[in-house]
Symmetry: C2
Subunit: 227 residues, 2 copies
Amino acid sequence: MGTRAQLEVKRIMDRLASAIVEHRLPPGTRLTEAKLVEVLGANRNHVRSALQKLASEYKVVTIFPNRGACVAQPTIKEARDVFAARIVIERAVVELAIDNLTAKNRNRLLKQLEKETGAIKCGERQEMIRESGNFHRVLAQIAGNEVLDELLAGLITRTSLIIALYQETPNVQCSIEEHQALVDAILAKDCDRARYLMDEHMKTIQRYLLLDERSGDVDLQAVLEES
Amino acid sequence: MGTRAQLEVKRIMDRLASAIVEHRLPPGTRLTEAKLVEVLGANRNHVRSALQKLASEYKVVTIFPNRGACVAQPTIKEARDVFAARIVIERAVVELAIDNLTAKNRNRLLKQLEKETGAIKCGERQEMIRESGNFHRVLAQIAGNEVLDELLAGLITRTSLIIALYQETPNVQCSIEEHQALVDAILAKDCDRARYLMDEHMKTIQRYLLLDERSGDVDLQAVLEES
DNA sequence: TATCAATAAATTGCTAACAATTTTGGATTG
DNA sequence: CAATCCAAAATTGTTAGCAATTTATTGATA
C-alpha cells in the first residue's frame, strides 16, 4: 500500500475505533460500506480494508461473509479472556514502569492524571473514556516495552467494547481515585502495592459487568429487545 | 472478503509464515509479488493481502512503500521486547495450565512431547522447529484463554524469526529436556517450580542469541557480510 | 392471512487494466 | 574512469466496473 492510501485507511480505522470505543457506535451496529463511504467521504476500497483490519487485528468489528460488517459483540467467554489477559499484561507493565521511573516519566504520569480530572470536570463523556484508556497506555509507554504496549493497546480497545456491551449501569469507567492511588504507589516505587492496586482496579471494572454464565454465549436477547 | 478468497489468503500466509519460521526464508529475503504469484500459483491480489497481513499482524514481513516486501529483520530492541513480553505471557499460561489440568490435557501434553522426540530422532530440522513451537501452543490451549493463546502464537512466530536472525550457533532450538522438566512440574502441579522452569527455559533460548547493544539498531553489517 | 416463488434492489466480492514509482542498464560527458 | 543523466523494464499501487450473493419486494395461491 502506498503511503497515501495507508494513511487514509488508518484515518478510517481511527474514526471507527474511536466511535466504538467511546460507545457512540453500540455493539451490533451494522456498518455498510456504502454508508461509511458517504459519511467519511472515502473510497470504498479504503473503507473495506479498514473494516478488515478492525476485524482481524482489533476484533472490534465482525465481518459476515457476503453480508457485511457489524460492531462486534464479544461473547462472555471472550470478555473474560480479554480481562484475564489484560490483567497479566497490566501487572507486568506496572512492574516495568516502576523500574523505568525517570523524572520525565513521573511528569508524564502526573500530566495524564490532570487530563483525566480535567475531562471529568468538563463532563465530556467521550473524553473521559478516551483519557481513562490513555492512562493505561501512558503506563505501558513508560514501561518501555513496545510489544507489550501494542498488545495492551489492543486489549484496552476490546475492553471498551466489552464495557459497552455488558455494563449494567452505564457510564462507569475507570475511577480516577484508583488511578490516583496507583500513581502514588508507582511514584513511591512500591511494587507490591502497585501490582495489588492494579489487580483491584481491573476487578473493580469487571465487577460492574454482567458476565454471568447465563446462556454462556452471545446476549442475543438483550440486543433484540434494544432494537 | 468472500470465504474462498479468504482461505486462499490464509493459505499463502501459512506457506510464507512456515517458511520464515522454519528458517527456509532468511531475514531480509525479498518477497516480490510476481515471484510469489508464480511459485504459489496464486492471484496477485491474494498475495498482496497476505503480505500486508503478515506485516501488520505478525510483523514477520516488512513492507517498504513502492519497493516491495522483505522477510523482517527485527531490531535488537524489538527482539528483547518480544522475549520479555513472551515471558510475561508464558508465565501466566503455565499457571493457568496447571489450574486446568484434566486427564485429557495431561494426555495432550505427553503426546506433544512424543511428537517432539520423534522429530528429533528423525532429524527433520523443520519439523523440530515446528513441534518445539507447538509445545508452547499446546500449553496455551490447555490454559484455556484464547486471547492469551493468540497473543502467544504471534510472539512464538516472531521469536522464531529472531532466532533465525540473531542466533550465533545455528540450529539450537528449545531443548526437549527442558520441555520434559516443565511437563513434569506441571503434571505435579508444582506451580512455583513450573514458573521457574519456564523462566529458565526462555533465558536459555535468549542466551544463545547475540542481543548485545552493538549499534543498538539493525544489524545491517551482519546481513551485508552474509549476502 | 400466511406461505411461497419470482423478481428487483441492495450490498459485498473480485479482478483486470491502468497509473505511479523505483530500479536497471547503458550512453554520454567532463 | 567516475559521475550524471535518461529511457526502458520491472515492480508496486489504485481504481472502476462487473460478478456473485444476499436481502427486500411483490404478487400469486391456497
